[in-house]
């Protein structure tokens, strides 16, 4: 069932990118989609439950909101005539609770696009994420922000996976 949905989605994206919504083109997209899924069959994620989709949407909304805030904040910092004095750049180690590569990737990407933070590196044991902060208030505030915001949401999404 979810593979059927995925095929539709892929053929729709194909039509989107090629820009022609004809039946033939959608069919071609479906064929390519099935071929791609066949090649990637071992790494396809398990089907998502509806409650998970709602959580993914809520994460997406939080992300767009934070992105907007982030752009405004960076703009204000850049336009501040006293730039050099107010800037307090720092590299902060954030301990990671999420374990899987996919979760760490999602978290690192979201951190990069949110207020004043940029992910720099992950330690080799995947337990620490190094984040560059533009204006540091305190290390604790930065860590708490990430842990209670995105990391909590990402863990909610993946929790169900573990239960199955």
């Amino acid at each position: 069932m979810s593979l059927l949905l995925l095929t539709f989605l892929l053929s729709f994206i194909w039509a989107l990118i090629t820009g022609t919504f004809t039946l033939l083109n959608l069919l071609l997209g479906a064929v390519i989609g099935v071929a791609a899924m066949y090649l990637l069959r071992s790494s396809l994620p398990k089907p998502k439950a509806p409650s998970q989709i709602r959580r993914i949407l809520s994460l997406l909304l939080l992300f767009l909101y934070e992105l907007m805030l982030s752009a405004i904040r960076v703009a204000r910092i850049v336009l501040d005539p006293q730039l050099k004095k107010n800037l307090r750049p720092a590299i902060v180690a954030v301990p990671l609770d999420v374990k899987r590569d996919a979760e760490i990737m999602l978290l690192a990407n979201m951190i990069t696009l949110t207020p004043g933070t940029l992910s720099l590196d992950v330690s080799e044991d995947k337990k620490t994420l190094f984040v560059h902060v533009l204006t540091l208030d305190s290390k604790e505030a930065v860590v708490a922000d990430i842990k209670n915001g995105f990391e909590a949401k990402i863990r909610e999404i993946y929790e169900d996976d573990l239960g199955n």
């Binding site: 850049v78 800037l87 750049p89 560059h132």
Partner: protein
């Protein structure tokens, strides 16, 4: 209706261009690569995003609108990866953060590995 959409699109294009300008100014004014990536990755992607939304509104063509949104999606997907890689590569090749950096947790880690 058509007029309203056009005014809205014009406003979005101005806003997007403004963010793009600020991000360019940030690259000029900030002290080192790490702080510059903040300006380039955030204000830059939001600026381009606004302009693509304006295109989506003003085109009145489903194919163009959908592709504009696909563009935004891929932009948001690729920008953080690119800026993260640039920052990481510079750190590993030994580019030091600016003097004004107040704290560096990575320094200890970096020295034990190299």
């Amino acid at each position: 209706m058509m007029d309203l959409a056009q005014y809205l699109a014009a406003a979005l294009i101005l806003l997007g261009a403004g963010f793009a300008l600020v991000s360019a100014m940030g690259v000029l004014r900030l002290p080192d690569l790490y702080t510059r990536m903040h300006a380039a990755s955030k204000a830059g992607s939001v600026g381009a995003g606004f302009i693509l939304i304006a295109v989506a509104i003003v085109s009145f063509d489903l194919a163009v609108t959908l592709r504009a949104f696909a563009g935004i999606f891929f932009l948001l997907l690729t920008t953080p990866v690119a800026s993260h890689l640039l920052a990481r590569a510079s750190y590993q090749s030994g580019y030091r953060p600016a003097e004004s950096t107040v704290m560096n947790d990575l320094d200890a880690e970096f020295q034990t590995h190299s």
